[in-house]
């Protein structure tokens, strides 16, 4: 059985093993610095489907199939799929997995969905409820734009703190046995709302939650920043990362050069016109499932704290004058 450590951290008795992962992205992401790590780059924003929502489901499905293939597992080995996305009713995931004959649970954690699913699956595996699970998340620039912002062809200017929703999906297969990096501990995050109202500044809205979860993890486990090879946040972007480092310093933790952010890794901020970087569930999902797992395979990293960050904003509540709640869940991944 797992042990609770401190206030929020759970140390797993039987670590969940990441058997393999896959990431599929769109064209813009495929033009970015991580291009060679992705399993497939889909140039057509419709991915051969009729709508953007269907395209997102298709990309998620592709990532799931590829992840199974790379882990040497078949769909019948899987006991549970934990997946989610940004759309209302978890549209992309629900429609992607409707023809898969496997138990499925939909999750919504905004862009924190990937670590939310990995944390839950790891606990279920540790408890013996599940032997093998799929954790997956997706986002699509076009389906997110139409739900959260404006029609694609509507002309407007983006603000300097805005982020670009990644078109992509990532999936990992977690198991009770096998070869691969292990999830050894998790720290589920609290919802933190520090009163940010600007939906074009989600990095600032999520930074306090990321800071809280990271600080909590470090204090619960008694580890110092130096003991990690990387502290990887989901999609704080350039400005959110700055805020995180600042907030962490106030908690007497210096992140130094250990901190990396998937939103800044996936795009070239100088040339790709994405302002503060990438965002969306698919951002951290695709980066972790490909680039980061590859770093583990090559032995470049041995211990990473992976914290996907989510802005739990509701367009309806924003119009009613509300602020943006942030959340961040951490999973500790060790070689």
């Amino acid at each position: 059985m797992a042990n609770r450590l401190g206030q929020q951290t759970v140390v797993l008795d039987k670590p969940a093993i990441i058997l393999g992962g896959a990431g599929i992205v769109g064209k813009k992401e495929g033009d970015g610095p991580l291009a060679r790590y992705f399993d497939n780059v889909i140039d057509d924003e419709y991915a051969g489907e009729k709508t953007f929502e269907a395209a997102e489901s298709r990309i998620l499905m592709d990532a799931y199939v590829k992840a199974l293939e790379k882990s040497g597992k078949s769909p019948t080995d899987i006991n549970l799929i934990l997946s989610g996305d940004l759309l209302n009713q978890c549209t992309a995931a629900s429609y992607a997995f409707r023809d898969v004959n496997t138990p499925y649970m939909g999750l919504f954690g905004a862009c924190s969905t990937m670590t939310e699913s990995m944390a839950l699956a790891a606990m279920l595996i540790d408890g013996g409820s599940v032997d093998y699970a799929v954790c997956a998340a997706s986002s699509h620039f076009c389906s997110a734009e139409r739900q959260f912002r404006f029609p694609l062809e509507y002309g407007n200017q983006r603000t300097p703190t805005s982020q670009w929703t990644v078109t992509g999906a990532g999936a990992v297969i977690l198991g009770k046995d096998g070869q691969g990096p292990k999830i050894t501990a998790i720290t589920p995050g609290k919802i933190l709302d520090q009163g940010i109202k600007d939906s074009n500044n989600m990095g600032a809205a999520m930074a306090p939650a990321a800071c809280d979860t990271i600080t909590r993890h470090l204090m619960d486990t008694g580890r110092s920043v130096d003991e990690f090879d990387m502290i990887l946040t989901g999609d704080l972007g350039k400005f959110g990362s700055e805020m995180l480092r600042d907030l962490m310093r106030r908690n007497n933790f210096d992140l130094k050069n250990k901190h990396k952010d998937c939103g800044m890794l996936i795009f070239d901020l100088e040339t790709q016109d994405v302002d503060c970087g990438g965002s969306g569930c698919g951002c951290s999902a695709a980066v972790f499932s490909t680039y980061i797992l590859d770093m583990f395979r090559q032995g470049i990293v041995k211990r990473i704290l992976f914290i996907a960050t989510g802005a739990l904003l509701s367009p309806t509540r924003m119009q009613q004058g509300e602020t943006i709640p942030g959340i961040a869940h951490a999973v500790l991944v060790e070689a």
Binding site: F150, F239, L247
Partner: protein
């Protein structure tokens, strides 16, 4: 493992009040490049109006239309151009450069109606195009028409009194 931490524990979330955090974000957030944006808006808006002026001159001098017909026809041509450029995926690029310079002229109004119509066609002609077409332009129409009624009333009363 858990020594020396309790003191810091309590402080994690509450080191900064909401107000202090908002202030810090405001101070540090990169601002828009105002001069660049103003200049781009001036050039873009000016260019659109120059095209409108050329169209007006053609109607007046080449096609010998009277003043009112020429003005109305020019608006129609500009609305068509806005819709056309939206349809071939160009207007959003103009606006991302020109900002308000592209959204304020009548071509921008046209873009605000055509773009949702294109976007929501997938949900059908009734619940998609029909229902969502005025998603962005709706408020402009509502308050524009309301303001014109008020102005008309004031004008009417003014004429009666004077």
């Amino acid at each position: 493992m858990l020594s020396n931490t309790e003191g810091r524990c309590r402080a994690i979330s509450n080191k900064l009040s909401k107000h202090e955090y908002q202030k810090m974000v405001e101070q540090k957030a990169p601002g828009s490049q105002i001069i660049r944006n103003l200049l781009a808006a001036f050039i873009t808006g000016g260019a659109i109006c120059a095209v409108g002026q050329i169209v007006l001159i053609i109607f007046e001098q080449v096609l010998k239309a009277d003043k009112e017909t020429a003005a109305a026809s020019t608006s129609i041509v500009m609305i068509f151009l806005g819709a056309f450029l939206t349809g071939i995926n160009i207007y959003d690029n103009i606006a991302s450069f020109g900002g308000a310079g592209a959204s304020v002229p009548i071509t921008g109004f046209s873009n605000s109606i055509v773009s949702p119509a294109m976007e929501f066609k997938k949900e059908g002609y009734v619940m998609g195009v029909g229902a969502k077409m005025f998603l962005i332009a709706g408020p402009v129409l509502v308050y524009g028409i309301f303001a014109s009624v008020v102005a008309g009333l004031v004008y009417f009363i003014w004429k009666q009194v004077m």
